[in-house]
Every structure is written in C-alpha cells, then in structure tokens.
Point group: C2
Chain length 92, copies 2
C-alpha cells in the first residue's frame, strides 16, 4: 500500500489521471480507432517492460486506462510509476 502523502506527491506528477478509491484512471479521445490502437500498442509495450498492466476499455476512439495493483487490492507505487511512463507517450 501507499501513504496519502505519497499519493498526493505522485498525483502532482501525472497528467489528467483521476484518483478513484483503489485505482487511477485516464480517459483518452483519439481521432479514430486506428490511432487509438496505435497508442494502445505503445501502452502495451510500456506495460510489458514494467510488468504492470492497466485494465483497458476501448470503444472506437475512446480509450480508458485503469491502473490498480490487483495483488494488493489497491494502489501501490507500481501504478504511479506505470502512469508516469504512459504519460511520456505521444497520446493524440
């Protein structure tokens, strides 16, 4: 698990992620499905590299990523470190 002060510090480093009770979530809108899939493949590469995988929802051009640490049943630093890496990707 992770302290509230650490959560606040991490959240200040993220771009457009929302904090939920046990996860962080980001919604993306792309020009079309193809562009959304291109971005999703980059997210997949980051996920494999970090061995931490967001829950993914994709409806045509609308992508939602949700990071939580299933094994800990809540947020850990792994979620925020993955989000920081995802935020480095070109997402438009």
């Amino acid at each position: 698990m992770i302290s509230l002060s650490m959560i606040n510090e991490y959240m200040s480093k993220l771009r457009d992620w929302s904090l939920e009770e046990s996860a962080i979530v980001k919604n993306y809108r792309f020009p079309n499905f193809k562009r959304a899939m291109e971005f999703l493949n980059e997210v997949a590469e980051v996920s494999e590299r970090m061995n931490h995988h967001p829950d993914i929802t994709l409806s045509y051009n609308l992508l939602r990523l949700r990071l939580t640490t299933h094994s800990e049943k809540g947020l850990t630093s792994k979620d925020f470190e993955a989000a920081i890496e995802i935020d480095k990707l070109k997402d438009y």
Copy 2:
C-alpha cells in the same frame, strides 16, 4: 434492425458468442497479456476492414469483445458478419 429468426440463424454460425439484449459478447482467456494483445491487433485489422468495431475490454489475459450497432441502437447483420470474421482468427 434484424429479425429474431435471422438472429437465431446467425447465432448458430458463431462460436461461443452470447446474445445480450442489444449486443453479442465473447470472452477470451489467453496465456498472458502479450498473446491477448496479438489477438486484439488481429481483431483490430478485421474491424478496420469491415468498418465495424467491437467494444473492447482487456484485463491482462482476459479479453471481452462486444458487438452492437451504435447507430441503430441494437443488433444488425453487421455485428454478426464481424463476429463471423473474428471467429476465423486463431484465438488461443
């Protein structure tokens, strides 16, 4: 829209899709995230080719596809034709 008899005929051609009120749904389990993404990319190619895109949910190795025709607010033959093409892909 589509008649009940056509729905029944289409359903008999599909492999492991469930009929919901206004959609058809299929759940897949892959050995890992990488294999799920590989399959998802093949589904994406079919979707672009047919210009009909399933709603996608991916949680590590568990993939869920949901086909509905948003513009018609329900099932149409486009959903079933897309499902038939998706069923031709190697999904394990």
